[in-house]
């Protein structure tokens, strides 16, 4: 088993390691002259009797640390809908409910039509990943335990009340809490004002019959203010054990 993985690492090394390639430069005498087939000589892959040319280029480009494309505050990605500011505050239930700084907060929700962004499946991807991951974002809580996103008011789909998914991680990426944000409903609420966009609310699943919120949602219920002209503002505080 160990030998197998050692051999495997040699094969990979032949492609990626500049040290290996250096051992087989054009102006040095080739180490192998086998006339056909592929052989492995001391970690150097030799194909059809000749070795691959070593890189002879100006060094660079020099890579720089780049965050995941989820890390952004505006997650709208051109999706149309009523503007929604999402303000989430985290407190630490293991620390006297004081603010929880430095936590990663992922949110995602559906668009006005009730669709989520696709992950692309097995097809070829274009390089523009921001449009692939629309309405998904990540922020790190500040010293007040707060994160802020700009998005659109979510639409709805069959079987679920309006909701936003939230996943909270500590700074090293360990899950602290998976939850969802529920929206107030009834006359005068944002859900009523948005009225399901073009769909209306016929067949809408209200919180009480929702399979996630149906067993109680008091701690997941956000405060939502605003109107369809100026947009809406959502505030919610979650206590998580950290």
């Amino acid at each position: 088993m160990e030998r197998k993985s050692f051999l495997k690492s040699l094969m990979i090394g032949a492609v990626t390691s500049s040290i290996v390639a250096e051992a087989c430069q054009k102006d040095s005498i080739a180490t192998s002259t086998s006339s056909s087939g592929s052989t492995t000589t001391g970690g150097t892959s030799v194909i059809n009797g000749s070795c691959s040319v070593a890189p002879t280029e100006t060094e660079g480009p020099f890579p720089t640390k780049s965050p995941a494309s989820y890390v952004r505050s505006d997650i709208t990605d051109g999706r149309t809908g009523y503007k929604l500011a999402v303000n989430i505050f985290l407190v630490n239930s293991n620390n006297s409910c004081n603010a929880l700084p430095g936590a990663l907060v992922d949110i995602w929700h559906c668009d006005a039509q009730g669709n989520y962004s696709e992950y692309g499946g097995s097809g070829l991807q274009s390089t523009n990943y921001t449009s692939v991951h629309f309405l998904r974002g990540r922020q790190t809580t500040d010293s007040n335990g707060a994160v802020a996103f700009t998005s659109i008011f979510p639409g709805w789909y069959s079987g679920r009340a309006t909701h936003i998914h939230v996943h909270v991680y500590n700074s090293s990426g360990t899950s602290l809490k998976v939850t969802q944000i529920a929206f107030p409903e009834g006359s005068g609420t944002a859900v009523a004002a948005v009225n399901g966009y073009s769909k209306g609310l016929s067949g809408y699943t209200y919180n009480a019959s929702d399979n996630v919120f149906g067993d109680g949602y008091a701690l997941e219920l956000a405060t939502v203010t605003g109107n369809t002209t100026d947009g809406f503002v959502l505030n919610i505080t979650f206590a998580v054990p950290a």
């Binding site: 492609v15 892959s45 059809n48 995941a68 989820y70 992950y119 991807q125 991680y169 360990t174």
Partner: protein, 167 residues
Amino acid sequence: MRIITLSYRKIIDITAQKPWEKLVYDDSYLEFKIQAQNFTIGTDHTTYAQLIQNIPAAKKLGGMVSASVSGYIQQLNNIVPDILNNLGRRFIKFDKYQFEIINSDILDIGKHQVAINFFSGPMIWHDTVDNMLLVSEYRAAHAGNETLTYLFTIQPYVNIHSLKNTY
């Protein structure tokens, strides 16, 4: 005339040495750990293989984790890394790529192994010289004119991804 596209499957594992590869490795592992928890919570699964065998929705993980490397792909400026022509220069332009998780384990970074598949734009395969292919970038407007060409050897993890004969 044979028009081909080339693909290169760049495998990155724990032995990665170059800065770009290490950044891709570490950041894709962190993102895998983060995203895998959407599926592992409440189960005993820790590996990618267990997840995709037992939880159909976990197939999304490749796409979910790909967001962690897209910034690094952009830093390549659309030139396929590692693959050199006979002058020792990188020469394959790509505009499509696909990120792939081969193996991983939320408890063991050593098991993490990913690949980035790069796909070239269309190229003309003019001839085969010795053990090398003579190719040029396909530009329909240049038909009949002098064309700049590249000689290169097919290397491990490089494939002729597609081929079209035009007469």
